[in-house]
Every structure is written in C-alpha cells, then in structure tokens.
C-alpha cells in the first residue's frame, strides 16, 4: 500500500531534483543573455577579487612582484608567506609604520565627508530644481543646460582646476576674497568646538565636491518634479494649503521614489570620491582629510604594501556593504506612505 501511494504521488509531482533540472534547462536561455557580461565580470572583476582575498592573508611586498599565479615555476621562489589575519590586525590597530595612518580617524572622516556632502548635494539640487520648475522662468532651458556643466566635466579636470583655485599664492579663491589662507597645508581649524578636528582643507574639498555633486541631484529631482501632476497642487491650493504644507505632504512623498536610489548612488560615489581628495588635498594636512580609497591607493603605489592594501580593500568593501544594507533598511522602514 505504501509503495503504491508513493508511485502515485511521483506520477502527479515529479521529484524535487527533476523539477530543479527542468528549471535549470529553462534557465539556460536567460543565462545565455547574461553570459557575455557575466564572462567579463568574472574575469575582470570577480577573479581579481578572489585573488585579492588570498593576497590579504599574505605578506606580499615589492620583492614578491615577480610571483606569477599562472607560472608554477615562480611559486617557490617568489611566493609570499601566508600570515593569516595579521594584515587585518595591523590595519585596525594602526601598526603599519606610516606616520599619518589612523584607521578610525580615516573612517570617521570618510563618514563625515559623505554625510555632509550628500546633504548639501540634495539640498542645493532640490532647491534649484524647484526654482527652475516654478511656473514662469525666463531662460529655463538655458539655465538647465549650463547647470549640468559641473557634472559633465571629467571629474579629475574639475578637481585639478579647484586645486589650482585653492593655491595659496596665485589661486582664485584667495585673490577673489582678499584672503591669505594656506588652504591645504594649514592644519589649524577655522571652526573650533566639536568641529575642531576639521582643518581648512576639509572646507576646500567640501566646496569643490559640492560644486561637483549637486547637478546630479538637480537632474534627478527635476525628472521627479515634472512627473507630479499640477492638478494636485491646484487641489491643495483650493484647500488652502501653505507652501510648506504642499512641500511636506505633496512634493516630498511624490519625489521620494526617485530620490532614494539617487541618494544611495550618490552616497557610494561620494564615499569613494577619489579625484577630489587626491588631487586637491592629497589627504593632507598630516592625513586629516584622508578617505579610505585614497589610503588604499597610497598603500599600493606609495608604500608598496600589497598584502596590507588587499586586506584594507576588503575591509572597505565590508564597510560599504554595511552602509548599503543600513540605507536599504532605513529607506524600507519609512517606505509605506499613502499618496491618496
């Protein structure tokens, strides 16, 4: 009886493995579409990442550079020693013999830098998009075209231009405002108190990156604002809503779906903003404006500590992952609103 029942069910429902096999065969079509991109990502991104993970457990230095993964003849002579979690420990305990290196300060600065920047980008971007979106604006198209210039310019050209403008001797900023500030090398803080740890260089890179970053937010906000039907505002006007009420209860919830992904993208871009920091302040003075990516770059190209740099990159990756997951959670928690 038992055996009979079993065969009956087997005829009705194919076994788990059989269904899986059938799904797998059906999946081949979609995977064929992904294959070209997947192949490139696997060789150029994923494989080096895996190599990097291995590297982070070794003491790979300049003398190991003739090591070749694909030539077993070099393994014996040039292969680095496996040292376990040593690199990670040294990174987190500032045990690297680099005078300006301080992991927690760099991380703290990086987070501060990202938060302040993204807030400014969104505030300016949204405000200017809203002004440009008001009922009558002469030269609307002209302004929109000019305003995307900071975004359209190659980032390192803008960064080098700003570096030139902040030059203490001939830079435009000092000449224009009649100042005599050594923006990059002066380690003192213009604002004391809780902001006492941020030197002049912070404000220099902040100005440059705000100039660089707000047009993206303006473009996204413009798209979102244009998709709101004007009838909604007319209805709010009839109900006697104030400007703030209209913004708070109409504009904000309706542009949210477009702004949230843009803010997440902007956060990752700003967190990894290599060009502005590296070309304007170079992380100085005394490493006070160093961010994680510039530090990783220096570990490779200035200190030639390849193993340490690999471990550092992996730590940075996990920090970014945590930030993304947190942002995801935060935005999802506040997602449920009613348009009606």
């Amino acid at each position: 009886m038992v055996a009979k029942a079993e065969t009956a069910t087997r005829i009705k429902r194919p076994s788990y493995w059989r269904r899986w096999w059938r799904n797998l065969k059906k999946s081949l079509g979609p995977w064929a579409y992904i294959a070209p991109a997947g192949l490139i990502m696997a060789t150029i991104s994923f494989f080096p990442q895996a190599f990097q993970v291995w590297l982070s457990f070794t003491d790979f230095k300049a003398k190991n550079l003739r090591f070749n993964l694909f030539d077993s003849g070099t393994w014996e002579r040039f292969g680095p020693d496996i040292i376990g979690l040593d690199n990670y420990q040294r990174i987190l305990q500032n045990d690297l013999n680099i005078a300006t290196y301080d992991f927690l300060r760099t991380l703290g600065f990086n987070v501060t830098w990202t938060v302040v920047n993204v807030i400014f980008h969104v505030l300016f971007g949204l405000a200017i998009a809203m002004v440009l979106n008001s009922k009558h604006v002469l030269g609307r198209r002209f302004y929109r075209a000019i305003y995307v210039i900071p975004w359209a310019l190659p980032a390192y050209i803008s960064a080098l231009t700003w570096a030139n403008m902040f030059n203490p001797d001939f830079g435009a900023i000092n000449q224009l405002f009649g100042l005599n500030i050594d923006w990059i090398k002066d380690a003192s803080a213009p604002i004391g108190g809780i902001l006492g740890w941020l030197p002049w260089a912070f404000y220099a890179v902040l100005v440059a990156n705000t100039w660089l970053g707000w047009p993206f937010m303006m473009v996204v906000a413009t798209g979102a604002l244009q998709s709101i039907p004007t009838e909604l505002y007319e209805a709010a006007d009839i109900d006697g809503a104030t400007g703030w009420q209209k913004f708070r209860h109409l504009t904000m919830p309706l542009i949210r779906p477009a702004m949230v992904p843009a803010i997440m993208l902007g956060t990752i871009w700003t967190f990894n903003q290599f060009n502005v920091i590296y070309f304007i302040s170079r992380g100085g003075p005394v490493g006070k404006t160093e961010i994680l990516v510039t530090q990783a770059f220096k570990l490779v190209f200035e200190n030639q500590l390849y193993g340490v740099a690999a471990a550092f990159s992996i730590v940075v990756f996990f920090i970014l992952l945590i930030i993304t997951l947190m942002q995801n959670r935060l935005t999802r928690a506040t997602e449920s609103y009613d348009v009606a």
Partner: protein, 315 residues
C-alpha cells in the same frame, strides 16, 4: 498605438502664453537673481580655466585676477594641438613623439570600445534580469550590485597579472587598447545593468505578449521592441560608459607601455609635473578634452532626465 505611459515620455511640454500680473513680475525678478548667482558660481571655475588657457605668461608670477589676461592668445591651444608631446616619445627625435591627433584616435577607440562592450552586454544581461524568472537570478543581480561597490584601485595588481597572461597576436592583452576597453567595460557594467534593468521594468508587457502571439522569438522581441523603446536609458548608459573610457588614466598608466597607444587623459596627466605644471597648456588641453563630453551632454540632455529616473520612479 503605444500606451499613454510611453508616449508621455517622448512628448514635449506644450507652450502656453499667459498674461503676467505685477506679482508674477516681482517673483520673476527674484527667481532671476537667484538663478544668476548660481550661474556665476557654476561658471566661475570654467571661466578661470579659460583665462588660464589664454594667458601667455604662465602663472609663475600672478598679477591679480583678470578674466581676459593682457596679451591673451590662443597660443597654448596651438601648442597642444600641433606640437609633439615631449614626454610621450618612443625615440630621441621629435617625430617619434605623440601628437594630439594620435592621442585623440586612441582615446576615441578606447571610449567607443568601452561604450559598445558595456551597453551591448549590459543591455543583454538587463533584459534577462528584467523579463525572465530563472535559477540564480537573485544571486546574479546581487553579484552585479556588490561589484558596483568595490573600490577598483585595489584591483590593479591582480588585473595586471591576469591580462598579461592572455596573449592575442603575440602581444599581451593588457598592453592593447582592446584590453583596456574591456577592463573599463567591467567597471561600467554594473551601473549599465542596474540602470537598464530599471528602465526595462517600466515597459509594459502587453507589447511583448502581442509579439509572442505573432510568433516572435525572445531575441527578436529584445531588439525590435525593448531596445527601441529604451532609447533614453540606452543613450544615458552609453554616455556614461563613454565618459569612463574617455577620462580614466590610472589603469591606463599601469597597463599601457607603448606611448603610441597613450590616450588624451594620460597625456593630460603627464603634464602634471612633480614641481611644475605648464598651466596654460594644461588648461587648453583640459578644455579640448571636455568639449566633446559637454557637447554629448547637451545633445542628450532631454533624455538624461528620463533615462536616469524613469526606472527608479517605478522602483
């Protein structure tokens, strides 16, 4: 007849003339003052770099802030465009050095190659992620997004080793423009897939179902229906991938060893000396490099907004 949600995307706002009240005029003056202030802030660095390029004196001895410097000339542009780059030579004589035209050709090849690889392969992958249910779909998408977050500077060393091993026509792939374009495409792909998938998701399925009934294959649906309807997102993704290839120089600097293959971005970087920089020529070069990108941006401006946001609006 296209559904309304699609025709709306391509339609321009109609122009309506209305009578202005006195209040409207005052508002307009306020708006214009605000917008002009923003305009000055946005334009200032651009004007600064223009005046640097026109300044024949260099900037070793500055004499105050003048927008059009005395004796302004286009000499630095002439130098950059027609004189050989002394730092990028294969031999001792001037004719072995790179000229602007050669650098431009290399830059165009790399940038176009990056765009073709990233958009072509990205669109194909995005189509699969957007339209099919299959094993490993979630894992595949997560893979692309996670790679978007990886800082790429740390990948130089392993990539160098890897691409040196792949040889095409007795040359390592690493030192060819093709290898460079593929490496850049890998950097641009995660954004391409993410952005294109978001846009594909907003295209109603009714069209495809109708085509399926008529016996069209999935490939035909892809390039006859999905691709033409995604023009804005395709344009934006192409623009961004092109920009990656056009401006990147760190990877190029490590990979390429033959100056005959160097790009404009690398030439610009080579001008940034340890102690001195020829600022007029540097500024002229920056402007020449930015003009094509700005031109593309303005040409595609109408599509940038929808190409970037339509996908995310729907979520």
């Amino acid at each position: 007849m296209l559904p309304e949600s699609l025709t709306k995307r391509f339609r321009r706002e109609p122009k309506v003339r209305e009578r202005w009240t006195r209040e409207d005029v005052y508002r307009q003056i306020g708006i214009q003052i605000f917008l002009l202030i923003v305009l000055v802030v946005v334009a200032f660095p651009v004007v600064w770099i223009l005046s640097m390029a026109l300044d024949p004196r260099g900037l070793s001895k500055p004499e105050g802030l003048t927008l059009i410097p005395p004796g302004a000339s286009l000499d630095s542009f002439r130098k950059v465009l027609f004189e050989p780059f002394q730092l990028l030579c294969t031999g001792q004589t001037d004719d072995t050095c790179m000229h602007f035209a050669g650098l431009l050709k290399n830059s165009l090849l790399v940038a176009l190659g990056t765009a073709v690889f990233a958009v072509g392969f990205g669109a194909s992958a995005a189509y699969a992620f957007s339209r099919f249910k299959f094993i490993g779909r979630q894992a595949g998408m997560m893979g692309f997004i996670v790679l978007l977050m990886m800082p790429s500077t740390g990948l130089l060393a392993p990539l160098f080793v890897l691409l040196s091993q792949i040889r095409i026509a007795d040359e390592p792939l690493r030192s060819t423009l093709m290898g460079l374009a593929i490496a850049y495409a890998a950097g641009a792909l995660p954004f391409a897939v993410w952005n294109l998938k978001g846009y594909f998701d907003t295209i109603p399925r009714d069209l495809e179902e109708a085509a399926l009934v008529d016996g069209a294959s999935t490939i035909k649906i892809f390039y006859r229906i999905i691709l033409p309807l995604s023009a804005p997102a395709m344009a934006v993704t192409t623009l961004f991938s092109f920009m990656t290839g056009w401006t990147e120089f760190i990877l190029a600097w490590v990979f390429l060893d033959n100056p005959q293959r160097f790009t404009l971005a690398m030439a610009l970087r080579s001008m940034q000396g340890q102690f001195t920089t020829p600022w007029p020529e540097f500024a002229a070069m920056s402007i020449l490099m930015s003009v094509p990108i700005l031109f593309l941006f303005f040409a595609l401006q109408r599509w940038i907004v929808s190409g970037l946001t339509v996908g995310s609006v729907k979520g």
